[in-house]
Symmetry: C2
Subunit: 480 residues, 2 copies
């Protein structure tokens, strides 16, 4: 185990050794799939498969139970039929294991008999100090060490290592539920808390706030165990890392659905909403926002204010961008005289914000230097705090050119940028998005997201600076 | 020209012969590209390339001017330097051409000298009866006859023929600006009105309302020439076809940006907003909604009410779906006793809405019949007006299975459905989306869009039935 990291949950995310307890049936066994996934992502620790009726899997010795393993086990991953779980958790505690992820379902979410089994887990946890994530979870993923506890087959073999922690109370935030490779989300950790019989959102926030690989936390929550403690923890974390929250149950019927999904009652949404905003958390409204907006925080400085420059290739989208910017609390920057001059030298048509390079491009044999100089000019403007630039792509052959431009531009960038990509070939657009993300540039296929992401960064920047929450930039902010 | 269609704009959309007037320089000439695009999309009419310094292009005889063509020309496509355009338009009128698309830019959108040229075009139009679309436009596309007037290279060779007309005041709504093939938007017509020196949004609505290929109209507008007339026209069209409107300029700064983009002043947004809603138009807020929501109207009946059934594979998304549904005016249906029984026979866990098949699937060797029966059961329920179903896809090998299921389900469907697709491979998800769309099923990669599209259909259904606009379903409706 990495000994220089802090927090109670280290064993869950940074185990030196794991036991995988479940069916090792080749092909479809859930334990088999966990081992397979971990090997696919090159887990750096030792793996001890546990099963009484198998001798070997993936060339690894299989043990009949955790007690039969001589070495220390940092983390147990339990994926067995629910009625067997309490006994296995008890064995884990006896073996001295400090952390267990109960992937199995059929507990409090299904009714009284499941709830009774779940209470047994909690009792063992309280009695022995063994911490439990779950049950009813796909568990944890860590791009730093290749840990993945997901019992479902993952069709891809690479996840971009980055600095966003995605947390949830649903398996949808899991490697089996998202095209993580194709979307190039820059991930540090993922954690599905499941039924939260023990480890909850507060523990997780405390751990992630200390995690050096995590710079931004995106959290999907349906219910909160201790609202007061949660809000206080959020406030503490927000002081140094942004916390973005997707919390369904906004409507009465949604809250009711949430209760039946996780087996616990959600509080009044209006109260949470006010408390979360007061604590400096940022509330998201859609799953797309949940996945996409955190990108903006990963590799860039925070904007020093809310003034945006918009570089577009299409006037129509330029106008729509202004609406979006203003509606989520950004101000369309008025360029300084120096910038106006600099842009006018390229073309008099370029000297106002949004800068529409669309009409200029077809008139030039080589439009790239104009695009590059336009980006550089607005980034240099002291009246500009952040920039959204547009890239058009057709066949994909433009990609190396764009990479060259941004390799140069990025060296001089001290302000956050986002990129909106549009074009005629979806695969080329997605490829460009990935290439930009690999360089740390947040890119989007929706102009509204490209702008909202910067609005979110500007909002967080103000919160962090402790500015008056009642002022215009904050009160007008909303991401929807 | 198709003689059985009505409306003033037939020559623009259904010409038997076109003249393409512009540079025929191989590779990059704008006229050359128009001809190339038209041949790529198998335009069914005759093409007369016009250029004084070329004899032949693409095996077609080139004429020095339109006067040199003996045959009738239904439509002229003009893509020459702006100062030459008034003279060419005059020649077109003398030749007896009734319709011209002026693709060239540099007119009212650039200042006074351009505005003067534009006025010359208007004068010729008034004097001779020649109708003009543009200037400053990518013009028109018609999937029924392969007409495309776009002067930019289009990298793909196929557009799904369908029943959505996409209209705009921006080149972004053009074949060179969107991955039309990859997204499988079911398109009837596209039209960029550009500067609207003559043909405007009212003319276009009147034409599209008569167009048998168009069942739904999505319209991006920045300014309106005659607000009163426009609203009255919208009201008339809405009585038989839905009109979805994306109108930027919602903020003061956005309205200002709009003015400088199109050279005309937008009216107060609040007034338009109220008038549009009163007329039964549906206001959209994002470009993604503009492209995606119309799908829902193409091949399906309208919902008879606002009660939705949600079939999910992930409880977390199920809860979020309920919020989205309620927030845009849908009601989560309470299943009839018959449906509850039918679903309970599959599993007691399935008997409530949202129906979460997630926990059941891993317990079954063959989960498909359960999914199919679940969909069939909720579609049969008299308490259900529309359905959103979830499909999960990994490698893509599930596609034929899903197609089989929906081929059977679709035969019995008398209610609108939308599909939310999620999974681990973006390309497979997009392929499944296309395959479903080709069968007329609207599919989405965002659960919120899958639900909002049905909310939009339910809203329009009420508008069309002339129900009281003040009732709950309407007043709560919003798409954002």
């Amino acid at each position: 185990m990495n000994s220089n990291a802090g927090g109670d949950l280290r064993a869950f995310f940074e185990p030196g050794s794991v036991a995988v307890i479940g069916s090792l049936r080749e092909g479809g066994g859930l334990g088999y799939t966990v081992v397979k996934n971990m090997r696919q992502f090159n887990f750096t620790g030792r793996i001890y498969p546990i099963n009484p009726s198998v001798n070997e899997t993936f060339g690894l010795k299989v043990y009949p139970d955790v007690g039969a393993v001589q070495d220390q086990i940092d983390l147990a991953i339990v994926i067995t039929p629910r009625q067997t779980v309490p006994g296995i958790i008890d064995q884990c505690a006896q073996k001295g294991i400090k952390a267990a992820i109960v992937v199995s379902d059929g507990f409090a979410e299904t009714g009284e008999s499941g709830a009774r089994l779940q209470r047994e887990l909690v009792e063992t946890s309280h009695r022995t100090g063994l911490r439990i994530v779950g049950p009813n979870t796909v568990g944890i993923l860590n791009t730093d060490n290749g840990l993945v506890t997901n019992p479902y087959f993952i069709s891809y073999d690479k996840i971009l290592k980055g600095n966003v922690a995605y947390c949830s109370q649903s398996g949808i935030v899991g490697a089996q539920g998202q095209p993580l490779k194709d979307q190039a989300y820059p991930i540090s950790k993922m954690c599905d808390l499941g039924n939260k019989c023990d480890v909850n959102e507060v523990d997780l926030l405390n751990y992630l706030s200390q995690d050096p690989q995590t710079r931004v936390i995106a959290m999907h929550i349906e219910d909160v165990k201790d609202g007061h403690k949660f809000i206080n923890t959020v406030r503490r974390v927000v002081a140094h890392k942004p916390v973005l929250i997707l919390k369904p149950g906004r409507t009465e019927r949604g809250a009711k659905a949430s209760a039946s999904h996780t087996g616990s009652l959600a509080g009044s949404d209006r109260i949470y909403d006010a408390a979360l905003r007061q604590a400096g958390a940022i509330r998201l409204n859609t799953w797309r926002e949940f996945w996409e907006i955190p990108r903006v925080f990963v590799n860039q400085p925070l904007p020093k204010g809310n003034r945006i420059a918009i570089i577009t290739i299409t006037g129509g989208v330029g106008v729509a961008s202004v609406d979006t910017a203003e509606e989520c609390g950004l101000a369309v920057a008025d360029f300084s005289p120096v910038t106006v001059n600099r842009l006018s030298r390229l073309s008099p048509q370029l000297a106002s914000n949004p800068v529409d390079v669309g009409p200029i491009i077809p008139t030039l044999d080589n439009p790239w230097p104009v695009l590059e100089e336009t980006i550089a000019a607005v980034l240099d403007d002291p009246n500009v705090d952040c920039v959204t630039a547009t890239l058009y792509i057709s066949s994909g052959e433009e990609i190396p050119v764009y990479m060259d431009i941004f390799d140069r531009v990025m060296k001089k960038v001290t302000k956050p940028m986002s990129i909106w990509i549009y074009g005629t070939e979806l695969a080329a657009m997605e490829e460009l998005l990935r290439k930009l993300q690999e360089r740390g540039l947040p890119a989007y296929l929706d102009i509204e997201l490209a702008i909202k992401s910067l609005a979110t960064a500007a909002h967080y920047s103000r919160v962090k600076c402790g500015l008056n929450h009642g002022d215009l930039g904050i009160s007008k902010f909303r991401v929807s």
